[in-house]
Each structure stands twice: as C-alpha cells, then as structure tokens.
C-alpha cells in the first residue's frame, strides 16, 4: 500500500479546533458564513440587476418584455469569447460585444419586433420567446454546446481583511460598479435628456408622439439597441470568471425578470435594487434552505410582489395594469 502522505493542509491546526475555539469559534464561523453568503448574493445580484436594467429599458421604450434578452446577451458574449480566444485583449472583446449588442438590438427591432408592435400583447411575447429558442440553438450550432471558460479582467480571489473574509472578488467589484454606472446613465438619459423623454413618450403613446414630430420608429430602434447593449453587458458580467454554454443565461432570464418586476418595470433604480435584493435572497435560500429551492423562492417573491404591490417598489407610474 502506498503511504498516505496526504495529511490535509490545515488539518494540523484545525484538528483540535473544537476544543480550543469552542463555541466562540463556531459563532465566528457562523457569522462569517452569513457574511459570505450575503456578499456572494450581492455580486450575483449585480448580474440580475444588469439584466433587469435591459428589461426595464425595453419596457420603457416599447412596453414589451424581451424574453430573448438572455439569448441575445449570450450570443454577443460568444462573439467576445471568439475574439479573446483568437488572442485579442479582454477589453477588445468586451467593446465588440457591446457594439454587437447595440447592432443586434436594432436589427431585431427593425426586422422582427416592428411588425408586432402595437398588436396584441401575446404576439410580442411569443415572438420574443421564438427568438430566445432560435438564437440559443443557433449559438449551439455555431459555437458548440460545450462548456467554455470566459476570462475575467480582474482577480478572482476574495479579499481578506484582518482575518475576516470578504466574499467579493475584484471582478465582482467591477461588475457592481459597471451596473451602478449604467443605472446612473440610464436615469440621466430618461430624466434629463430630450432623447430619453422622447423614448418614453414613444413608448407611452406613439400617436401623440408622432403628432409632436417625434421620430417614433427611430426611438423604438434606439430603445432596443440600448437595451440589447445593456443585455450584452449583463451577459459579459455573468460570464466573467465563470463557465459559458448556450443555455447559461436561462436562469438569469427568470431571476432578472423577477428583479425588474420587484423594482417596478419602469424604474432603473428599482431594477438595480430589485436585482440586489433578489441576489441576496436567493443566495441565503441556497445557503440555508437548499439549492433546489432557489427557483421556487424566485416564484414566491414574484407572486408576492404581483399580488401585494403590483407596481413594484420603485415605479413612479400611478396606475399600472399587470
């Protein structure tokens, strides 16, 4: 028999731990666990927030929920991956993916969505679902259905502050920062610029907007293009330092949607807060109740919000039919 050289690292110090540290040690670890789970939820939440922002943007510009958003973001992330794997820098891939998102959003609006806008709500929902399925299959054919790793531009180690682990990596901080910046930019766009105002007007009332000389068609295209760009960003942030495969955005579609509804589909700030709340709640559910209940928890949150406060936490719109 081969000699067991394998005394686990750290085993020597931790073996007697129960005796020395006793209850205090266990309490400290319990606190640390909660901190870890919560902070992990924060970084997951940033991702849901990014996705929710994209949904909010399209909702504000066309009153459509884009169920294809996840597939679109996935697709542009694969474009970035192809560039990075061919030797370009992460940031080239990042920029190209965002631009590709912009273009893809505009194309999808022009070629597909334009024809169902203003029609029955159902038709738009079905069309975006169709796009969702088709794009995912197309990506699998073009890029393959295997796991690929997607690099991150920043580190993936958590911080250690005086013996307390802070379960956030530099890349997580980048993701959270990027989401906050995008949110502020969107708030500014909608609140302070004429373009933003026209986009909102076009969404609420196309006819009146046209009578006021607003180029409604262009506003809708712009709305979709911007939203798809934010969607691409969310795809990149989810992928960063993790695995991608054609269906990697599937869960995010649901969690991002719930986050957007939680915050109020009209509100960028709501989307971000909703995303963070979702991230932390789901992380806690996963860590303390079980990973199989995460989707169910999302359902419970959604139903509660829709029934108790259908306008969401942050929507300004007075009346909303849900």
């Amino acid at each position: 028999m081969v000699a067991p050289t394998a005394v686990p690292r750290g085993a020597a110090t931790t073996m007697s731990e129960p005796l020395i540290e006793g209850i205090a040690g266990r309490n400290r670890r319990t606190m640390q666990q909660f901190l870890n789970v919560a902070l992990n939820g924060l970084s997951q939440g940033a991702i849901y927030a990014a996705f929710a922002l994209a949904l909010v943007l399209i909702w504000r510009s066309t009153r459509i929920i884009n169920f294809a958003q996840g597939s679109m973001g996935m697709f542009t992330t694969y474009i970035a991956l192809a560039l990075i794997e061919s030797g370009r820098s992460y940031w080239v891939g990042f920029a190209v993916a965002l631009l590709a998102g912009l273009l893809l959003g505009a194309l999808v609006e022009r070629l597909v969505i334009r024809r169902v806008e203003g029609g029955p709500e159902l038709n738009a929902v079905i069309v975006t679902l169709g796009l969702f399925v088709a794009l995912q299959a197309l990506a699998a054919i073009l890029f393959g259905a295997t796991y690929r790793s997607f690099p991150a531009p920043f580190g993936l180690h958590g911080f250690d502050v005086g013996g307390v682990n802070i379960a956030l990596t530099p890349f997580n901080l980048f993701a959270i920062g990027a989401v906050v910046v995008v949110m502020l930019a969107l708030v500014a766009l909608f609140r302070f610029t004429d373009v933003g105002l026209r986009m909102r007007a076009s969404a609420f009332n196309q006819e009146v907007s046209r009578l006021l000389g607003v180029p409604v068609g262009r506003m809708l295209t712009l709305g979709w293009a911007l939203a798809a760009m934010v969607g691409s960003l969310s795809g990149l942030l989810i992928a960063g330092g993790s695995l991608v495969f054609p269906a990697y955005m599937d869960a995010v579609i649901v969690y991002g949607f719930v986050a957007a509804v939680l915050g109020g589909l009209d509100s960028p700030v709501g989307a971000v807060v909703g995303g963070l709340v979702m991230g932390m709640t789901l992380s806690v559910v996963s860590g303390y109740l079980g990973s199989e209940l995460v989707a169910l928890a999302a359902l419970a949150i959604l139903v509660t919000v829709l029934l108790v406060r259908p306008r969401g936490l942050f929507s300004r719109t007075a009346v909303r039919q849900v």
């Binding site: 169920f67 169709g130 088709a134 999302a298 959604l302 849900v322």
Partner: protein, 376 residues
C-alpha cells in the same frame, strides 16, 4: 325572417353537441385505422402526440380563447404525471380512475395558479408562469422521499390486458404491444377531451371567454365576472394539462424533473401558436408537428452534411424560427391559413376584405353612416 334566425339560433347548441358527437365517432374510426395501419414505432409516436395534443387543446382554450398566456403548463403536466405515478404505484387504483384523479388534482392546483394569474396580463403573466415552470420541478427534488428526486419516480404503467390483444388480433390480425395499448389510451383520452372542449367552446362560456379576450372593459361593463371566468378557463386548461401529464406518465413510465423543463412549456406554446391560436384542430396539428418535425429536421441536417451533434440543434432552431415566422406572417397559424383559403375560394365578394380591421374601431360611426340600408 327574424324568427327563423332566432329559431336556428335556439337549436344551435343541441345541434353542436350532435354534430360534435358525430365528428367524434368519425374520428374514432380514423384513429383506429391510423393505429392499425401503422407500425409500432408510429404507434409510439402517436402516443406521444396524444399527450401533447391533450395539453395543447387545454392551452388553446386558455391562450387562444381567453387570451391568457401560460408558460407554466409544463409544470402542470408534471403535477398530473406525478399524481398519476403515485396513484398507479399503489397498485390498487385502476388507471382510468388514476387519470381522472390526476386531472382533478391538477385542476385544484389550477385554481390556485389561476387565481393569481387572473390578475395578471400579457408579459407579467408570461413571466409569472415562466417562474412557475422553473420553480415547480424543485419541489420534486426537495421532497425526494415522495417524488424520487432528480432521477424521478418510476411509474408502473398498465400492461395491455389479454382481451385487448384478443380484440385487436380478432379485428385486425395485428399483435398488440404496449406501444399500441398506450396509443389507444392516449387517443381515446384525447378524443374525449376534444369532445368536451369543443362543446365548451361553443357554449355560453366559450363566447364569454372570447368576449373577455377581445375587449375586457366591454365585457366587464356587460356584467361579466371577469375574475371568476378567467380562473375557470385556467382550471379547465389545467385539468387538461393534468390529464396530459397522466398519459405522459403511462407512456414514458417515469416522472422526473428533467422531463418538465421550460422547453416542454415552450413546445406546447409552439404547438398552439403554429396550429392556430384558439382552434382545437390547430392544437392537434401543432402537436403533430412537435412529434414529427424534430426527426425530419435532424434527418435533413444529417443529409446536408452536419454532424449528429449539430443536426440535433436544428429542431430547437426550427421551433424558434417557426414561432417567429408564424407570428409575423400568419398570426392565425396553420388553421388561419386554411380558413383564409377556404373563404377565398368559393365567394369572391369577401376575398378583398382587408385584414386591417382595428382601425375601423377608431371611427366606428363612419361605417354606419355609409350604410344607410340599415333602416330599410
């Protein structure tokens, strides 16, 4: 003249029932011929088609007739399949009773889901039911003691009884395997569902559901209890999904979370949309597509030189493309196209009626004004 019309109207429900019964009898003959003239593999495909069609018929009542979308019907089928499995595995419940019970259990779930769904519209409803589809399978894993967890609940499907084999052999000189037996169970259930639903569609409920779909406000002003009728539509639809799940349980002999993913819900929606929203015939057609399209598309892909792995992706690709294309070019689906062709042929007068009807609502009085014949 007026009284004659009214008389015809009064007799209509009765004749609908009669006509539907006749249709079902005819359909029965067709089904038997279909199952007896095809090989065991086609039999098994038809068995699969039957449960898709049962669920799609229920969904078409909900979505096509009442305008409520559901991306959660896969989860409702799961409820039916698990209920079926648990009942059959007791070994004492005969399968027809188990099927009814599975439908009833799912209908009860439908009351709960429907009550929540009745307050939601369009994208909100879509998102909520999507969350349902993704969340419910987690229950089967959480309570794995009862539901068998991830690897599923094996179901002891009924074996073809001797009399069945004897009858089939006596009438058609065919051997009766389990594929054939399951196909008969599925199709008889399907015919019963279609008969019930088509009567329901033609009934007062059907008309009110359509009214709600077309103009909710007007329906409410006319005193229709919107909420209750919406929930009712959901319950009917859920019962069908439960029944479909029960048939699936028998045919697949397993209920597992991986069998009820969002893909199933989206497939059902595809069937309903492609066949023609709101038409039971369309649901049937769409279900056929779900079963027969993937092998055909994959085969084409292989012939075109794709690898097996790539060709397999063509089926979902085709689903997606078909969904989008149908919505853009022929929102009425296959049945819509068929109907348009049918109407276009014999009577030219109506052929040029433009589809652009919603604009007329904006100045409805114009229509009256230009048709002064109304008074004479």
């Amino acid at each position: 003249m007026v009284s004659l019309v009214a008389g015809v109207r009064r007799r209509l429900p009765a004749s609908t029932l009669g006509r539907n019964l006749l249709l079902v009898l005819a359909a029965l003959v067709v089904v038997v011929l279909l199952l007896e003239l095809t090989d065991p593999f086609r039999n098994s495909q038809l068995a699969t088609m039957s449960y898709y069609a049962i669920a799609a018929a229920g969904l078409t009542v909900l979505t096509g007739l009442n305008g409520q979308i559901s991306l959660g019907h896969g989860a409702l089928m799961a409820v039916g399949a698990y209920a079926m499995g648990l009942l059959l595995n007791t070994g004492v419940v005969p399968f027809p009773l188990a099927m009814l019970a599975a439908a009833a259990v799912t209908a009860v779930v439908g009351v709960v889901v429907g009550a929540a769904a009745a307050r939601l519209h369009g994208p909100y409803l879509a998102g909520a039911t999507l969350a349902l589809a993704i969340g419910v399978p987690g229950l089967a894993i959480h309570f794995d003691g009862v539901f068998g967890g991830e690897q599923g609940l094996q179901i002891s499907s009924p074996r073809p009884p001797d009399w069945f084999a004897d009858v089939i052999y006596f009438l058609f000189a065919n051997e009766a395997g389990s594929a054939k037996y399951f196909a008969y169970i599925g199709w008889l259930t399907l015919l019963a569902v279609l008969l019930l639903l088509s009567n329901l569609v033609a009934s007062r409920y059907g008309r009110v559901w359509r009214a709600i779909r077309d103009d909710e406000v007007a329906a409410e002003l006319a005193g229709v209890p919107l909420g209750r009728l919406r929930v009712l539509a959901f319950v009917v639809s859920a019962a069908c999904a439960g029944l479909a799940g029960a048939v699936l349980g028998i045919v697949v002999r397993l209920a597992a979370p991986s069998g009820f993913t969002i893909v199933l819900s989206l497939s059902l929606l595809t069937a309903v949309v492609v066949g023609g929203l709101g038409s039971l015939g369309g649901a049937l057609l769409g279900s056929a597509l779900l079963v027969f399209l993937p092998p055909a598309v994959t085969g084409l892909g292989m012939q075109a030189g794709l690898t097996g792995v790539q060709a397999a992706q063509l089926a979902p690709l085709a689903y997606g493309v078909v969904l989008v294309t149908v919505m853009l070019l022929a929102p009425g689906g296959a049945m819509g196209i068929a109907r348009a062709l049918w109407h276009a042929r014999p009577r030219r007068r109506f052929a040029q009626q433009p589809a652009n009807t919603h604009r007329m609502d904006e100045e409805p009085s114009t229509t009256d004004a230009t048709e002064p014949g109304g008074r004479t």
